[in-house]
Amino acid sequence: MSLFTMPSLGADMEAGKLIEWLVKPGDHVAKGDIVAVVETQKGAIEIEIFEAGQISALLAEPGQTLPVGAPLAQIGTAEDAAPAVAPPPRGQPPQAAKPPAPPVAPAGGSGGPRPASPAARARAAELGLALETVAGSGPGGAVLLADVGAGAQGHPAPPMAPAGDGGPKGRPGLDLTGMRHAIAAAMSRSKRKIPHYYLSHEIALQAAQGWLAATNAARPPDRRLLMGALLVRATVRALARVPEMNGRFDEGGFVPSATVNCGLAIALRGGGLIAPAIPDAQDLDSDAIMHRMRDLVARTRAGRLRNSEITQGTITVSSLGETGVDALFGVIYPPQVALVGFGAPRVRPLILDGTLTPGLAVTATLAADHRVSDGRRGAMFLAEIDRLLQEPDNT
């Protein structure tokens, strides 16, 4: 027997609210199955289980807020089920012959949990509506805030949250105060514990831009690439030369990671920020990176991230996209040891072969942990990203 407990989804998390169970007692689960949805300051997170077994009992009710480490369910593992004493009763196949647990349906697929945006979840909870009773019109049938409104006809309109500071037109629902608190806790810890150093380097992007325009011209929109995917791909590849930028700094010191789980800082419209990671990014080409980035952004917006995605990053890339300022100097997301920032690519005066030429360029920055690396290695990292972006077709 073992206990499945409320996971820590970041050093700043103290408690989470169980939103729904996706398994019931008697269900068999495999490592990596999504078994529950927990509402945190980062929105609704799908929780995976990290051992195989059979659910013996559920120990928490949806709606309960529980501290990290609190027992959620009891799991019977393979050792428990091993027939050490008696053979299995007649007519029942032995444990080992049982079919594997059915694969969990992909998010949005039929039979899986009902996907819903955090705002929709919050509103449904306010109204006392079960999400299963609401028809979803979002991606993959996800329940959106408007759907909950439609499903609640006849209910009095709930009070709207104050519109805030007049920023972008976001909807209320996500706990932005809680998210701000979580960001504050993580960033304070980072600045208190991590001796950051910063480097900055301008990278010409004409080669990448030319390759991108030629590649995209022949493709339908859903197969087009963004410059952001090339920047992430170059960063991931460059880590092969500077492995001390990729890993985690725990109590015992720095542990480099064999895989690159590349976090992407994704800004939320209402304010706040989440940095889910693309696991095993070292094996992905530009198309695959782009596909994973689209998927992560879409699921971040719809509130369907998984706990492994928000806890297992080994480096983070923060990119301002096309509209923004020239450079950003990041705060490392602990326990990682480096953050690469890209400002907005812009046409700037460049000196090429001794001639002043207008050309697209981006300012790449590195915030890195001085306990692990020095500026010389950091400079090598940014220079390698630059070199790789000059040969974008070599992917």
Binding site: P168, K169, R224, M227, L268, R269, V297
Partner: protein
């Protein structure tokens, strides 16, 4: 399709890729990036959705013509009529 139908379809696709936006709060002259906060990935997802719905190619060089709901409706109407 009438401009009203095109607008309704455009807003539906916009909400599909940005479910946190309130459809009632979107103005015809709101800039998708500056006012509504779409990033380049959201914008590309919107172009993909419009491509699927209207079966139009929407090359990158036409992206500026989708900058606001009113511009986008005019662009889509012109392309559908062509």
């Amino acid at each position: 399709m009438t401009p009203q139908e095109i607008r309704a379809a455009f807003i539906a696709d916009l909400i599909g890729i940005a479910p946190d936006l309130d459809p009632a709060a979107i103005g015809d002259d709101d800039h998708l990036q500056d006012d509504l906060g779409l990033d380049s990935m959201d914008f590309l997802n919107l172009v993909s959705a419009l491509h699927k719905r209207f079966n139009l190619p929407v090359p990158e060089s036409d992206y500026p013509r989708l900058a606001t709901p009113s511009k986008a409706v005019a662009y889509l109407a012109a392309m559908l009529a062509a």
